[in-house]
């Protein structure tokens, strides 16, 4: 979101909406595929279900260049600080999609080794259920996020 010093007026709200539109049309995801959901995330980027038509096929390896972190897979206790560090290194504005059951809530692994839900570590915008969610579910989640960003700018 664009923060401006002046109070909202006609020009600044239009600017807000234009900025949000631009952000949704090229929201670059960071490489954060952890487990099985990463395979389905790669499938979403491949030719059959093309994420490139939404401007998102470039997975940025460097978090500094990424807008969106799709946490795809189970987050273990050892990985949790790394996740937070990568999230902190991303520049504003940034969004998080928690993909799959393990990232959303710990999934079927309710045990000592996993963080029960990635929202204990980073703030999540959209949760995509599934184990793993198929590419169509992930795309639905991504489009929901786009709608959320556009809605917030109105």
């Amino acid at each position: 979101m664009v923060r401006l010093a002046e109070p909202p007026g006609f020009l600044t709200t239009t600017l807000d909406r234009a900025a949000a539109w631009a952000q949704t049309k090229s929201m670059w995801p960071a490489v954060f595929g952890l487990a099985c959901c990463a395979i389905e995330m790669m499938a979403t980027g491949a030719a059959h279900n093309d994420m490139g038509r939404f401007g998102m096929e470039v997975f940025r390896a460097s978090p500094r260049q990424a807008d969106l972190m799709i946490v795809a897979g189970r987050v273990s206790q050892k990985m949790a600080p790394v996740l937070r560090q990568v999230y902190d290194q991303m520049a504003e504005p940034k969004w998080v999609i928690s993909m799959g059951a393990c990232a959303s809530s710990g999934g079927m692994f309710n045990n000592y080794a996993l963080v029960q839900g990635v929202d204990q570590i980073v703030p999540v915008d959209v949760y995509v259920p599934g184990c793993p969610p198929g590419p169509q579910s992930l795309l639905h989640g991504i489009l929901t996020l786009h709608a959320k960003v556009l809605e917030a700018a109105k």
Partner: protein, 156 residues
Amino acid sequence: MSDSTAAIAAAVEGAVIGDSLGQQTISVPVAQLATAAAAAKDNGYEMLVDLTSVDYLDRDPRFEVVVNLVSISAGVRLRLLAGVPGGDPTVPTLTTVYPGADFYEREIYDLMGIVFEGHPDLTRILLPDEWVGHPLRKDSSVGAVPVQFKSSNEVS
């Protein structure tokens, strides 16, 4: 190929040949485990396939270290079993015989708490370094978090 099994058992004091559902096993005293592994390697078992541990809680000795070996040239498998007491579980390392036992022994140390004497770098491998406890032991709980289920009276 039972002659190689017999040869290995002969090289180790206190070895007992067994059969587990058609698979050859040799139970050895834990102090002789490295000797048994070396004897197996000399008798054609070139590859260490698996090294793991079991916690039989109410048994004495409490733990069991299981070594699965395979002979590529002969196409047979062998299992070595060694009972490890629960009070001070130490086992001689197999890395001098099979270098690939390195990570397996670290995993057993990490999750089960069995110490391998002579291992070059016995540190935690799967869990964070500052973890306390050994989760795979039977007296550790699985660590489940209580999960709430919304009652079905709520209309969505």
